[in-house]
């Protein structure tokens, strides 16, 4: 369970659980987890990162698969834990063994479970933001689109520069707010130009950033995590929307 989903949007977690159970998986959510450690890692603190990596590995290594509704967190575990722990032979080994069993949600559904039986309808013109880590570290591009194509009523309208960073970048967005502002307003301009009613993505970080900016611009475009749409769980307010 990624820290942002846990704190901001549990419904994404429940959507992921629902989808995994639809494919026949038995889902557990270990209590001994907090965050994957990226804030420490990308701010230069290797010691804290290594400690958190060991904690995550210990919490998850007894399972057949580790799935998260985030390309960024899975990229961290898969690509970066072995590097962070390379000076520690035992934990490096354990990190590598875990890495092979980690999957981002849509990639797991499509590539591992070969699941196509999406039972959801969502009548909207939707555009999709390709989050950087998922796209470039894990090659996630077609999987969410393949699943969305099975959602009844949904029309996908690709926007320009869907693969360009939204300006979130973890703590980057609070350290350099003005640069981040330019990047996220370029993103929202492309979303508006695509004439979409709704923007979807696979990472809460990007989605909080994009939703926050759309709200600041008084836009009525809705923001959901892709898992919520696939699991037919769009009855609650969209990200950044209030209870009406």
């Amino acid at each position: 369970m990624t820290c942002l989903v846990d704190l901001f949007r549990p419904s994404v977690g429940f959507a992921a659980v629902k989808l995994l159970e639809q494919t026949g998986c038995i889902v557990a959510v270990p209590r001994g987890q907090t965050c994957c450690g990226q804030p420490a890692y990308n701010n230069g603190d290797q010691q804290t990162t290594a400690d958190i990596a060991r904690q995550v590995i210990a919490a998850f290594e007894s399972f057949d698969y580790v799935v998260a509704a985030s390309g960024s967190c899975i990229g961290m575990i898969k690509e970066h834990y072995p590097r962070v722990l390379k000076g520690d032979a035992e934990w490096f080994d354990r990190a590598q063994q875990l890495a092979g069993r980690c999957f981002e949600l849509t990639a797991f559904l499509v590539d591992v479970m070969e699941w196509q039986d999406v039972e959801s309808s969502f009548t909207a013109a939707v555009t999709y933001h390709d989050s950087c880590s998922g796209l470039r570290e894990l090659g996630i591009k077609q999987q969410p689109r393949a699943l969305l194509s099975k959602v009844s009523g949904l029309a996908l309208k690709e926007m320009e520069d869907s693969e360009v960073c939204c300006g979130f970048g973890g703590t980057f967005c609070i350290k350099y707010p003005k640069i981040s502002e330019r990047m996220v307003s370029d993103k929202t301009a492309h979303i508006v130009a695509a004439e979409a009613d709704c923007i979807l993505g696979g990472d809460m970080g990007c989605l909080l950033n994009i939703a926050g900016r759309l709200k600041r611009e008084d836009s009525r475009i809705k923001v959901y995590h892709v898992a919520e749409v696939l699991a037919a769980m769009t009855d609650q307010p969209a990200i950044g929307d209030g209870k009406s």
């Binding site: 704190l7 470039r136 707010p177 709200k215 950044g240």
Partner: protein
């Protein structure tokens, strides 16, 4: 070159407010990206060439002393001279010694190393007149600005700005009309430069490659002015850094296939020119003296350390063109010679991490630079490695370090973490329920000054999950 890397944030924010800069950057961005994509798509074996190029550079760097020695020997055999410079100062002194007496008119082709060592300023201090001949360099010389891009030095200027600049600066040559079309701008610059080509004593160029087996220096250009710079004056001086050497002409051709495509989306640039020694007796033209100044300036320290791979860089500029941060703020905000991702790695290594603390951090680690780098340099990983060093040396912002430390303590104690996040989500969720987002929030101004913060749904997943099972 003067540096203002410590002032990054202020310069970046000023750049974001600069309307003409934003217009120029918006226009340039799409062109570079689309042209590169098309060029790469037209070459099915691009990835194969990329792998080959990487191994050529790795081999050369592993035997750098050998190939530099061979290069020197071949330059001497062809009648030229080689000058070794450990530092920027030594390099400038070497060039000044070759130029000789004060009061010379010196032509320059585009050379980033000459920017790095501050050569123009050194020559002007010594009483020489410097004329940049690359159109972009010529424009920024007139404007008294440093380059903002490693292959397109004046990319930050709009055409209107260039029209005004030429109008103000070319009046003294009797050119009083307003040139507004690109072709007319180029022609007017050509007209002014032509007289200078024929009246200069020394021509200085950079080098894209140094060929060890022949002692040749190679420049890649689109205007041909670099060629005139190295052929017409009596003395030709090449300034190049140590990692420019490649073993053979065959190796050069592999790298050339990547360079043009990655830089401008051209299969090859208009001119690829090799200089081998001074004019021979049966040559129709060429310089009487041929000098190569080979500059280290901190590079040999990178050999074998965690930044070794950076020495593979062929200065194509693709990482700049694909960097959303560079695209937003332009090159001048970075404060020194090399901007964008490659600059954010190189600058701290060359001028000291303590003088360029922002550069490795002003990046979202989105990975696009590493993806397009023709030499497969892991730029994002290197930027992160620089952050490790900042953290170790306590160079990062003290408040941010404390916040990180507090978060780290919490993140390593799942029970406590869940108690704290449980309270946070409940409180924030309740306050924010109606609006769904916060316009402003204490301690979160970095976030809320430019966007709203979506409110949490109310309870953490962990708490709800516990309730469900």
């Amino acid at each position: 070159m003067q540096r203002s890397t410590a002032d990054f944030k202020r310069r970046a924010e000023a750049a974001l407010q600069n309307v003409s800069l934003q217009q120029a950057m918006a226009k340039a961005k799409g062109g570079f990206v689309d042209k590169r994509r098309l060029a790469v798509n037209r070459l099915p074996e691009f990835e194969q060439i990329r792998a080959e190029a990487k191994s050529i550079k790795e081999h050369t760097l592993a035997h750098l002393d050998y190939y530099l020695d061979q290069f020197e020997r071949k330059v001497l055999e062809s009648g030229g001279q080689v000058h070794w410079a450990r530092t920027a100062e030594e390099a400038c002194s070497a060039v000044l010694a070759i130029i000789g007496q004060s009061g010379k008119q010196v032509l320059k082709g585009k050379s980033m190393v000459s920017e790095e060592i501050g050569l123009n300023a050194a020559m002007e201090r010594a009483g020489h007149t410097v004329v940049e001949t690359d159109l972009g360099e010529y424009i920024i010389q007139l404007a008294h600005e440093p380059p903002s891009h490693i292959i397109a030095p004046a990319v930050h200027k709009t055409r209107d700005q260039i029209t005004e600049l030429f109008h103000a600066e070319h009046e003294k040559y009797g050119l009083t009309g307003l040139v507004t079309e690109t072709e007319d701008i180029v022609n007017e610059a050509r007209q002014v430069l032509r007289s200078k080509f024929l009246s200069s004593d020394v021509g200085i160029t950079g080098a894209n490659f140094l060929i060890a087996e022949t002692g040749s220096t190679v420049i890649v250009t689109n205007e041909g002015n670099g060629d005139l710079t190295q052929i017409l004056p009596r003395k030709h001086i090449v300034t190049a850094s140590i990692e420019k050497v490649v073993p053979s002409l065959d190796d050069m051709t592999v790298l050339l296939r990547l360079l043009g495509r990655s830089a401008t989306g051209q299969e090859m640039s208009s001119y690829t020119t090799l200089s081998t020694g001074p004019k021979r007796t049966d040559d129709q033209d060429g310089p009487e003296e041929f000098h190569v100044v080979i500059v280290d300036n901190g590079r040999s320290e990178m050999l074998g350390n965690e930044f070794h791979d950076m020495l593979r860089c062929i200065r194509c500029g693709a990482c700049l063109n694909h960097c959303p941060v560079y695209g937003a703020i332009g090159g001048h905000a970075y404060g020194w010679v090399y901007p964008g991702p490659m600059g954010s790695v190189l600058t701290p290594l060359m001028i000291g991490l303590e003088n360029a603390r922002d550069l490795p951090n002003a990046c979202t680690l989105n990975g696009r630079c590493g993806e397009v780098c023709p030499m497969s340099i892991p730029l994002p990983d290197m930027l992160r490695t620089l952050r490790f060093k900042e953290h170790e040396r306590k160079l990062s912002d003290a408040r941010a370090r404390w916040a990180l430390k507090a978060w780290g303590l919490l993140a390593r104690r799942p029970g406590l973490y869940q108690a704290v996040t449980g309270v946070m989500s409940t409180v924030l969720g309740r306050i924010g329920r109606r609006a769904g987002r916060f316009r402003a929030l204490p301690l979160a101004s970095g976030w809320t000054q430019v966007r709203d913060l979506p409110a949490p749904q109310g309870a953490t997943f962990q708490r709800l999950w516990k309730g469900r099972r």
